[in-house]
Amino acid sequence: MIRAVLALALAAFAAGACAPASAASLPTQIGIRIHYSHFSPDKIDVPIGVPVTFTLVNDDPIEHEWLLGDEAFHARHRLGTEAVHGDRPNEISLPPMTTKTTTITFDKPGELTFICHFPGHEAYGMVGVLRVHP
């Protein structure tokens, strides 16, 4: 029951992130739930130039990660050697059933992706898109 309420709260929290609008009206507090090895929402719009705080909720009993960047960034991480992330705001490791927050200020517009690079997870669908709006 608690989990259901929290999920609903998170969904409402995230709802603002799903509706593209002008940069000024875009949310700076984003909730992303990981459930059954998928990100929800998997499409996010954020404003440029202001701090955006992401609350990442791993609802699964397995470890995941949230790595946000461009294609070159993900190409490196597909071949990377870091066992655990956490030192950089766009690279977050999420142990089972945990929540973490991270704050990022985007300095240029464009499209990034967030992916879990654990083996098999990207292929299973753990991919999301983040658009930075001027």
Binding site: L6, S37, N58, I62, G80, T81, M97, F118
Partner: protein, 343 residues
């Protein structure tokens, strides 16, 4: 991250290649998430509302520890070493002579209550733990005990836990097997006695960790008082009826003479179901009904339960269903990377 895990894989892949326990009906989860289905044998029998589930873990050499999670329809009364020839005898009954080789298979996130350990048992080189809990609880228990679950595990564990929150975790200690003098290929049968009102055979779990196009091969043997009704029906999506006939007296006598198999009745019906499906097709389990009792669509995984049921401790009814035997059906083998489940 991937390269790091690949490096880890270089270490543990040796174990996978050399020490994998051919846990019955098992999909072995490798460090890269790939699953190699192992075709071995499992038996689960039903009589008087009690399921007798026998599964075999095959020693394949090497060292290290490996585990499997098996969804169960209820809480076992007893876990013990199984008989030595039941599984082989069932295969021989429906396979041409000379085909014995067929046997060779958070702040916001509410932290779950820990999975409850119902019982533990040691069978040869196997540590058995029966767990009660939801998919998240059992998944977290497995993670905390060194299992590395694939990406689809959370959904698949919930699929089973919503019907019966009972799982058996088995850890095969290859070093202990060697110390016991077990030879490569030696199997360790485990016999679980499970009272249950709604027998079913887990099949979907065979696809765990596999890609959509990967193949799943399994043989399911059913032994019932009478010809059973089965779901899904008609057979499709990789499910095929290979044998349906009265069980021979010699088969029943042979099974009855094996260790722990005295419950085998004087007459029965033998059915063999072959599973030859892609992983994406295997979205169901096998539910069985006899004596006019229709098999449950919920038990077959064809529709969700109204609510998560509490597992039954003991059935008061007598079931016409006598037995279910599986060859290569219903176990998930998960790679252990670190610690033991039960010391």
């Amino acid at each position: 991250m991937r390269a790091f895990l690949a490096g880890l894989a270089a270490l543990v892949a040796t174990f996978v290649a050399a020490a994998q326990p051919a846990a019955a009906c098992a999909g072995l989860i490798g460090p890269n998430g790939a699953v190699n289905l192992l075709r071995t044998s499992t038996f689960a029998g039903y009589h008087d509302g009690v399921e007798h589930y026998v599964t075999s873990f095959q020693f394949a050499g090497g060292s290290g520890q490996f585990g499997s999670l098996i969804p169960l329809p209820g809480i076992p009364d007893k876990v013990e070493r199984g008989g030595d020839w039941t599984l082989q005898r069932l295969v021989r009954e429906t396979a041409p002579v000379g085909r014995f080789d067929a046997l060779q298979r958070s702040a916001l996130a509410a932290a779950p209550a820990p999975a409850q350990v119902i019982l533990t048992a040691r069978v040869d080189a196997l540590d058995i733990t029966v767990l009660k809990g939801g998919g998240a609880e059992v998944g977290q228990w497995a993670t905390e005990h060194g299992f590395r679950l694939p990406a689809d595990a959370p959904e698949v564990l919930d699929f089973y836990a919503n019907r019966s929150p009972i799982f058996m975790a088995a850890v095969f200690d290859a070093d202990a097997a060697k110390a016991r003098g077990q030879n490569i290929g030696d199997g360790t049968p485990v016999h679980l006695t499970i009272p249950t009102e709604s027998p079913w055979v887990p099949l979907r779990i065979l696809s765990l960790g596999k890609k959509a196009d990967d193949r799943v091969d399994a043989d399911v043997y059913l032994l019932t008082d009478q010809r059973p009704a089965l779901l899904p029906y008609p057979f499709a999506n990789g499910m095929r009826l290979d044998h349906s006939a009265a069980a021979t007296t010699s088969l029943l006598n042979d099974l009855r003479s094996d260790k722990g198999m005295g419950w085998i009745p004087q007459s029965a019906w033998l059915t063999k179901i072959a599973i030859d499906a892609s992983a994406s097709q295997l979205t169901y389990d096998l539910a069985v009904g006899t004596s006019g009792v229709s098999p449950s669509r919920v038990a077959a995984g064809l529709e969700p339960p109204a609510s998560a049921p509490a597992p039954t401790q003991q059935s008061a009814e007598l079931f016409a269903l006598i037995g279910i035997a599986i060859a290569a059906g219903g176990t998930v083998v998960l790679l252990r990377t670190t610690q033991r489940v039960i010391a």
